[in-house]
């Protein structure tokens, strides 16, 4: 067993290691702005919750920052035009987060320069005077969702004032191909801390914890600002699985989130570091969430940090990076361990997209040569939530729904580690997802 202990090898249960060397060096590369595309495809649903209704129609002119979709429900989060231009149609397109077709607003970019629309702003120096409810409402209006990947409405999480004791900022950046969080800490520390302070005000928590795997002194400016703001800096062991909200709560507070509950139920509200930044931009600059930083990785370019408009087709990003889209065979959106590969290059980015990885035909999927399970138990050893993926796979294959319930298939956090360590190259993820769905259906 090779014990590699450095910041690119994350230690998991069972003595396994997640190799994150693919992003080596990316933390030193500043964000590079990708020019606005000719056509933006903005999904009306970019959050967990019911879809929005379009507020514009074909032929309408829209200005950057203008709200173009919203809904009535508490879980709805509005979407805004990322560019100034004309709505060409409202149609369905492949949604990378849902893995299915979803309704979107197609906006053709105009050539003229018009100042973007901005929301009403708050004064960071008079934060204590602002009503928490007004701040929460402003976060919603800015279209902020959880930017760690799930897309949970940020304003909903920020409404747990009665339950929250701790605000945990997840800056673990434990996905093997995501480096944009590190850059954010490096480049925008002031906004980040301002966002955290606003979140703490909204939640009225007794303690703020900034969880990072960075070593002490790695981000001096950020550390100093956090110290001044009274935010505790928690240096967490380098581990991929601890990036999950529930496991991070366990790691930091030694409290388990009960099955079927969420971190706020045990007094902890967890937000991604990028969400804190988006909150700051929304509140203090009046800038709705229409762009974000991502990490792009391909073997031709290596890792790169990009700043991209939401709704930008992947094709545009590939071309900007000098990669002809027809030389790519697999395009993975989000984490290499958790994100799906999209069916074509015209799939647009959504708010929760943190990474894109392009693989050419020479970089074949390691899972192509699947073999019979040898029941080595590696998947059980590595599972961070202590379920038994191999037993779940066997029960799922046999359609034993009762057994799936006894095996707690619903507790899977979809981290992909079981497949990652499987010597037989079995993608257990698919079995586990089906098992979860079966258990949840009852």
């Amino acid at each position: 067993m090779r014990l590699r202990r450095d910041k690119y090898h994350f230690q998991e249960r069972g003595g396994f290691t997640v190799d994150a060397t693919v992003k080596r060096g990316a933390e030193h590369l500043p964000f590079q702005r990708v020019p606005d595309p000719e056509l933006c495809v903005v999904f009306l649903r970019q959050h967990i919750g019911p879809p929005n209704e379009p507020l514009v129609g074909p032929g309408d002119r829209v200005t950057e920052g203008q709200k173009i979709g919203d809904g009535e429900g508490h879980m709805c989060v509005p979407v805004h035009a990322p560019v100034t231009g004309r709505v060409t149609k409202i149609d369905t397109a492949y949604h990378p987060g849902l893995g299915a077709e979803s309704e979107a607003v197609f906006i053709e970019r105009a050539s003229e320069e018009i100042p973007p629309l901005r929301l009403s702003r708050f004064d960071p120096d008079r934060l204590q005077d602002a009503e928490p409810d007004a701040l929460v409402g402003a976060v919603r209006e800015a279209g902020v969702v959880g930017l760690g990947g799930a897309g949970f409405p940020a304003h909903v999480k920020l409404s747990f004032r009665d339950k929250a004791e701790y605000l945990v900022i997840n800056a673990k950046e434990s996905d093997p191909n995501v480096a944009c969080d590190v850059r954010l800490k490096q480049e925008r520390p002031a906004e980040l801390v301002a966002g955290i302070r606003a979140m703490a005000r909204m939640l009225n928590v007794k303690e703020c914890i900034f969880a990072t795997r960075a070593q002490r002194g790695e981000f001096p400016e950020l550390e100093e600002r956090l110290r001044k703001a009274g935010v505790e800096l928690a240096h967490i062991r380098p581990s991929y699985s601890v990036g999950s909200d529930k496991l991070l709560v366990k790691e930091l507070l030694n409290v388990e989130v009960p099955c079927g509950a969420y971190p706020p139920d045990v007094g902890a509200v967890v937000h991604n570091v990028f969400t804190a930044y988006a909150v700051a931009r929304g509140l203090y600059d009046g800038e709705p969430l229409t762009s974000r930083g991502i990490t792009f990785i391909s073997r031709y370019t290596g890792p790169r940090n990009l700043w991209v408009k939401v709704g930008t087709p992947m094709r545009h990003v590939l071309e900007h990076m000098g990669i002809p889209p027809d030389t790519v065979q697999r395009l993975v959106v989000a984490s290499m361990l958790m994100g799906g590969a999209v069916p074509h290059a015209d799939v647009p980015l959504v708010k929760a997209t943190a990474a894109i990885s392009a693989f050419d035909p020479q970089e074949r999927s390691p899972y192509e040569r699947e073999r019979a399970c040898i029941r080595c138990g590696y998947c059980n050893m590595v599972c961070p939530v202590s379920i038994y993926p191999v037993l779940i796979m066997e029960a799922e294959k046999r359609g034993q729904r009762g057994k799936l319930r006894r095996l707690h298939a619903e507790d899977c956090i979809d981290c992909g580690l079981c497949s990652y360590v499987c010597p037989s190259l079995i993608k257990l993820t698919g079995y586990l997802r089906r098992a979860m769905a079966e258990v949840k259906q009852g």
């Binding site: 003595g15 290499m336 074509h344 290059a345 029941r375 590696y378 379920i387 507790d411 497949s419 190259l425």
Partner: protein
């Protein structure tokens, strides 16, 4: 953007990266680790040990490629591509044979392992419920016992039937057998270098080193080994206290014979036929220890494989108990 995308990518589920630990690598590592006791057997047991191992591996590989060729002829493709797993099976067969066994017995066990308990069992049951090498050996020795008498069936050591392990005097005779065979004392000979019994157990120490290497390098199911050795050790110590005599000798004899230490590390941990749940692994190892010790006391030395096969059969049941509590269910992570 195009209305109809003309470029289709491979759309698939995550993950898209892998740790690089493949079945072949695990098998190759296992094989390399087993070379340690195999090499240790040479000075103790001579070239005959090497011949047994070579015959076992050769037979298994012959069967492997024959099956692959048959599959290729009938289906046009074969699932028998890599020889890594047969290599391990062959090595286990070779190391689990008693040095006194005739070569035809090794050929028989190796062929049964590959054809009946690996290939046929996999085809009929969907997976291997019985440890192939152990089941083959049990089957062949049972057949030999019926055909040629219990002496032959007793691993070709009929003298074992006359041993008396229930008294201090009887046990001292057993140790004296080892005392007289080399410059080493009985206990040291049992632990370091013996020319008797399983080839894989020629050096208990070498097995221990290889076994610890396997725990670290291939993550074998160490709970089974620990509980097996602890159980046998405790029972041996109790027996020594009850009957009198040297406890060191008792421990060396019961723990360091090949049928305990080699079987414990490299057969009882065979992944497919042993429990997955942690609690189940402890239970499995403990039951294996109790059964092995009792059979040793009853003079069925090397009988651990009978207990192993019996426990393999109840592994699906054992797998239903002793599971960890998942996160969020009040368990300790």
């Amino acid at each position: 953007m195009r209305e109809e995308p003309n470029l289709r990518y491979i759309s698939e589920l995550p993950p898209h990266v892998h740790s690089g630990i493949t079945k072949d690598k695990v098998m190759l590592r296992t094989f390399l680790l087993m070379c340690i006791p195999a090499l240790a057997a040479l000075p103790a047991m001579g070239l005959s040990a090497l011949a047994h191992i070579a015959i076992a591996i050769g037979t298994v590989l012959f069967c492997h490629y024959s099956l692959a060729y048959t599959e290729l002829l009938s289906k046009g493709t074969t699932s028998y591509k890599s020889p890594c797993s047969p290599l391990v099976a062959g090595m286990i067969v070779g190391l689990s044979m008693p040095i006194a066994a005739p070569y035809y017995a090794t050929v028989g066990v190796a062929a049964l392992t590959m054809v009946v308990f690996k290939w046929l069992q996999g085809r009929l049951c969907g997976r291997k419920y019985l440890n192939p090498a152990a089941a083959s050996k049990v089957l062949l020795l049972a057949a030999l016992s019926i055909a040629a008498g219990l002496g032959t069936g007793m691993m070709f050591y009929p003298a074992h039937l006359r041993l008396d392990l229930w008294t201090a005097a009887g046990f001292d005779e057993v140790v004296a057998f080892y005392d007289g065979r080399s410059a080493l004392s009985g206990a040291l000979s049992l632990v370091l270098l013996k020319d008797h019994g399983w080839i894989g157990g020629a050096s208990g120490l070498a097995v221990l080193v290889a076994g610890i290497g396997a725990v670290l390098w291939i993550r074998l199911k160490w709970r089974i080994v620990v509980s097996l050795l602890l159980t046998v050790g405790v029972l041996a110590a109790v027996m020594s206290l009850v009957t009198g005599g040297s406890m060191v000798d008792r421990l060396a004899f019961h723990l360091f014979t090949g049928s305990v230490i080699f079987m414990g590390f490299f057969m009882a941990t065979e992944p497919q036929s042993t429990p997955l749940a942690e609690g189940g692994q402890y239970l499995f190892g403990t039951a294996l220890g109790v059964g092995t010790f009792l059979l040793q006391q009853l003079n069925v030395l090397g009988g651990s494989i009978i207990v192993l096969v019996a426990l393999n059969l109840v592994t699906p049941l054992i797998d239903t108990i002793g599971r960890r509590r998942p996160y969020g269910h009040g368990g300790v992570r």
